[in-house]
Amino acid sequence: MTKNTFWVLTLVALGFAACKKEETVTPSEPLTVETINNLFAPNDEINRETGEIIKENNFVKFSFSAKDTVSDDSWDLAFKGTKILVNGGTGSENITRTGHAGAIIKDGIFEEMLTAPEDSEYRQDSGTDLAIPTGSNNGWYVYNDAAYLITPIAGKVIFVRTHDDKYAKVEILSYYKDAPANPDAFTDQAATFTFRYIYQEDGSKNLQ
């Protein structure tokens, strides 16, 4: 009995010690999780019979530091349909990339991923090969051809190096307006992003 008590106490003590140690490591206030609702980025309008583009739409440019869409070159990510570009690298799209942005998709849970990956891991757009790949089950979404639905894949966290070398992590939550629980491809407005992110403005890789 006494022996057991001894061990229990030891474990409790060790537990406390561990907790304390962790507490001392935590450097500062946790960063706030921002959510962007209904960012509408429609794809080009296409004649379904001929495949011809009737009306070309612009990419909708987003900046983490502005917490909003921007019209100048200070963007980090740009959206159009299921395509997401980074402000870094090259591409044939009708957009100017002046920044140093990059991105990498990692598997995991948003809240649990506390540090941005090493710089060597970030990819930039290069021609048709995007840093955030398009295509079903290729990057951030999966396309269901029976229900015609685009669903963001759970457990995909996009780490972004911004155009000016800051870090952020993004989780895309919905592709339909007002993020309905059971979206309907025929009635819900598509290409309407809801996503959340954490942005670290001090340039460190801490994303906690």
Partner: protein, 701 residues
């Protein structure tokens, strides 16, 4: 039990099966009245030789002629749909799922000879009409040790009527789905030479479960089946059998397309031949030889046109032929029976979807030992298939049974099965330019990729390229255990537990992306899955006139890699309400798609013993997954399931002189689900009759 009595019983059994060579007629039309008097059923599938169930340490499910006659079932799928522990699945034709395994893993035989012509792995059960079927034997669990590839999940052997006597039978059934079905069987037999000719013509207007979409769920079709059989007794010890079967089917197609909007129509023509012959000779009371030869062809011709533009939408021809010679020797010595067999399979496929005509041939050998000792029965077999282009396979199997007392016995077995990749998985070279993708067989893949690589048309490989060009057979390891109770009062119960572990499962997946963004798909050995479950059947005689039958199956079928990933915490899903991402737990995982955890059946049978018979049957199947909707590629969310459902059947039969009249209703509660269960038609009433002219005494026996 007295040892002497047992020995005597064994001796009698031995004599019985020597006499009942492979094709001996068993129950003629005479037994239609008093159908619930159980007679020993002769089972062929378990050993490739005639045996009764109590001579076998393997449980074989038998659907007899009477059971078939009592329903409105005209095609194989209709009767299998009513069995528990078996699912019909609709995927490029209606196939069968046994012990939770897909249609490509069950071998379908007619009188012991395999049918050919599978679409995407499924052998369409609608090709088999039941009019001249004597019994359907269902052997669940691996049977590769006798039947080779494709018998990994088991065997369904359709045993047709043997020519006997001189008679003409005319049968017809009319329902909204069969307008009409007309059958006739002519038997013309002497003492030594026996012949029969069976013909069936079925015309169906199809049915439509969803009025909103253009076209019917099942479009109109008609089908003609001809089956001729011949047997000759050549002296006392030699018997020769031959049969030819021909099925031709025309199936209408009609559907809507967009971009540009149009309507596509056309016919699918299908024709198959099965010619088989066998010769059995007893050298003495110990030694018997059987020589078999079968030749099968399957031909499919599809031409679909766009009505507005007149353009060809699809023009597809497919031709397959299959030849199988086999020799089997049976040596009986006291309580030991030893079989030795050898054979070969030659197969050829022609289609535009293959670069050239594809062929393969391979020899095989098998051996089997039956040993009865006291209360023990042992059956062990092994087969070796020697393939050229893919790994050869040795398939062993061992089954045991122990008779505890007169009413109770138990047993079990273990076996290994395999399935070689089919022609499609090896050689397909198909590009869908409309949808923008390409599918390549595993053998085609490396050469085509090398060519594309040379033209710098490959953007990216999506899997490790070292796996290309090295496809292996799928392999299984299976075990089962059973307990059987058989009361003297006709009450029966059986519990069976099974487990199948399959490795190197072949999956279709994107392997490369072309520079134009199009994906290239191919076949790779990837998954490891298991299926396990319990099957329970019970039969209770309530009175001389009433009988109650119950059955239930529990099934658990899962992908081992998914379980592993769940344990590692790398499978996620998003809560659709809170949008929060969470890790999947084992409890959330619903297993393989299209499998129901629970299946049950209740059946009430009535026989007045004065010519009236009736039955009511209700089958239930619990919910099953149809597709992943939330993007984690596994079955976990409630909206990924088709809800559970039940189908009811009733039927009434009247025997009167040379006539049988029947009436009934299938799917009494009118269950339907056009999207996920198109093979289940709505409520279907039917009327039918049978008339037999016996040329000996002008009387229906």
């Amino acid at each position: 039990m007295d040892a002497l009595v047992r020995q005597f019983r064994w001796f009698v059994q031995s004599i019985t099966f020597i006499l009942l060579s492979y094709n001996t007629p068993l129950h003629g039309q005479a037994d239609t009245i008093g159908m619930y008097i159980d007679e020993p059923e002769i089972i062929i599938s378990a050993t490739k030789m005639a045996r009764t169930q109590d001579q076998l340490p393997i449980p074989v499910q038998v659907i007899g002629k009477k059971e078939i006659q009592q329903t409105g079932a005209m095609r194989l799928q209709d009767i299998l749909q009513q069995q528990s522990g078996i699912n019909t699945v609709s995927l490029l034709g209606t196939g069968v799922q046994m012990q939770g395994l897909d249609p490509d893993y069950t071998q379908i035989l007619i009188d012991g000879e395999p049918l050919t012509g599978r679409s995407g792995g499924t052998l369409d059960l609608s090709r088999i009409v039941l009019g001249n079927v004597r019994q359907i034997e269902i052997l669940k669990g691996p049977a590769s040790s006798l039947y080779g590839s494709n018998a990994l999940a088991g065997v369904i052997n359709i045993i047709t009527d043997q020519p006997e006597g001189k008679s003409l039978t005319i049968r017809s059934l009319v329902s909204p789905l069969q307008l009409p079905d007309i059958q006739s069987s002519l038997q013309w037999s002497g003492k030594k030479i026996k012949t029969s000719l069976f013909a069936d013509y079925l015309k169906s207007p199809g049915y439509d479960l969803d009025q909103d979409t253009y076209g019917k769920t099942v479009e109109p079709y008609h089908q003609l089946t001809l089956h001729g059989k011949f047997s000759a007794q050549l002296g006392t010890y030699t018997k020769w059998n031959a049969s030819v079967r021909n099925v031709s089917q025309t199936q209408w197609n009609a559907y809507e397309v967009t971009a540009p909007a149009d309507i596509v129509t056309g016919n699918t023509y299908q024709k198959e031949w099965l010619a088989a012959t066998n010769l059995t000779h007893f050298w003495n009371e110990h030694l018997k030889h059987t020589y078999r030869l079968s030749y099968t062809t399957f031909n499919q011709d599809l031409l679909l046109l766009r009505q507005e533009s007149g353009n060809v939408e699809e023009n597809f021809q497919f031709y397959q032929q299959f030849l199988k010679p086999e020799w089997q020797q049976e040596l009986i010595y006291r309580n030991l029976t030893w079989h030795l067999g050898a054979g070969g399979e030659w197969e050829e496929v022609q289609s535009e979807r293959y670069e050239v005509t594809r062929r393969r041939a391979h020899p095989y050998g098998f051996t089997q030992l039956e040993w009865n000792h006291g209360a023990w029965q042992v059956l062990t077999s092994a087969r070796y298939d020697n393939y050229v282009d893919i790994a050869s396979s040795l398939s062993p199997k061992l089954s045991l049974k122990y008779q505890l007392n007169k009413a109770l016995f138990f047993g079990g077995g273990w076996g290994q099965g395999f399935k070689v990749p089919d022609f499609r998985q090896l050689y397909l070279n198909f590009a869908n330019s409309v949808a923008g993708y390409q599918v390549l067989g595993a053998v085609e893949l490396p050469t085509v990729l090398a060519t594309l690589e040379g033209q710098s048309l490959i953007d990216q490989y999506l899997v490790n390229t070292s796996q290309f060009g090295n496809i292996q057979p799928e392999r299984s390891n299976s075990g089962q255990f059973f307990i059987n109770y058989e009361g003297t009062n006709g009450n029966r119960m059986q519990i069976q537990v099974f487990r199948n572990d399959i490795r190197q499962l072949i999956e279709t997946l994107p392997v490369a992306r072309r520079t134009n963004g199009q994906l290239i798909y191919s076949y790779l050995n990837l998954d490891q899955v298991y299926t396990q479950g319990i099957e329970w059947t019970g039969s209770l005689r309530l009175s001389p006139n009433w009988q109650l039958k119950l059955s239930y199956q529990f099934l658990d079928a899962k992908d081992k890699q998914v379980l592993e990933a769940i344990d590692q915490g790398s499978v996620y899903r998003r809560n659709p309400e809170t949008l929060k991402t969470e890790r999947l737990t084992r409890k959330d995982y619903g297993g393989l798609f299209n499998r129901s955890a629970h299946q049950a059946q209740i059946q009430v049978l009535f026989d007045s013993r004065t010519g009236w018979q009736a039955q009511a049957r209700y089958t239930y199947r619990s919910r099953f997954g149809f597709a992943d909707l939330n993007g984690n590629s596994v079955l976990d969310a409630a909206n990924e399931y088709v809800p559970g459902y039940g189908v009811g059947y009733i039927s009434l039969q009247r025997y009167w002189q040379a006539w049988i009249f029947k009436a009934g209703v299938d799917n009494l509660l009118n269950y339907h689900n056009a999207t996920y269960l198109p093979q289940i038609a709505g409520i279907t009433p039917y009327l039918g009759f049978e008339y037999q002219i016996d040329f000996h005494n002008h009387n229906h026996k």
